[in-house]
Symmetry: C2
Amino acid sequence: MLIRRPEELPGQPMQMDGVKDVTMRVMVGRADSAPTFAMRHFTVEPGGHTPHHSHNYEHEVYITEGEGQVEENGKFHRIRGGDVLFVPPNAVHQFKATGQSPLKFLCLVPVSFDCGKPTPGT
Amino acid sequence: MLIRRPEELPGQPMQMDGVKDVTMRVMVGRADSAPTFAMRHFTVEPGGHTPHHSHNYEHEVYITEGEGQVEENGKFHRIRGGDVLFVPPNAVHQFKATGQSPLKFLCLVPVSFDCGKPTPGT
C-alpha cells in the first residue's frame, strides 16, 4: 500500500502559460499504476494563480489549507480549507490564492481523456 | 460549480456487513454528474471500522482528521491526518479508528466497475 504525505515529496513548479507561483506534487498517478484517476497536490503562493483555462475532463478538489478565489465561467467564489469543489468538464476555471498564507488543495482528474490521451500532470 | 463542505451534508450510516460506527457523505457523485470518479467522506467513530473486504476497483484516500490503522492484505499501517493512501484493486483492506476522536477521510472510487456497474456509494 502506498502511504505518503505531500511534504515528503519534492514539488515541481507548474509549467504552463498563465500560471504564477504554483507547485505540484503527484500524490497518486500513472507512475503508481492508478487505473482511473490521479490525485495531485497544489500549493499556490499568496498572490499566485493557476491557469485560466478549460478542458474536456473534470476536476474534483479538496481545499486542505488557506483561502482563495475560484472562477468558473466568469463567476467568482470564495474558497477555504475544508471545501470540496466539482469543476465539470469544459468549464473555464482558475484558482487564486488571496490570503496571507499559501492556498493548498488536492485536485483529482481522470488519468486519460479523449479516448486514451494521458491527462497532463497525472 | 459545486462547492460544499462535509458538515453541510447529512451523513448516512454505512450499511454493510462488517461495518461498525461509520457515516458516509457523498461529496461528489453520480447525482452530480461526476463522469469518472466519486468523492465520498467517511467518519469512523473511535473504535469503529470499515468492512474487511476487497473489490476490483481502487481507492484513493486522504485522511482529513484523526488517526487510525489501515490493513492491506494482512499488513497493518498507522495513518493520521494529512496522509494520502492508494489501495490498489483487489487488495483486502480495512480502516479502523484508533484515537480518542473520529477518524475522518475522503475515499475516492471510480463511478463504475465491471464494464458499467455503478460502484456502491457513488
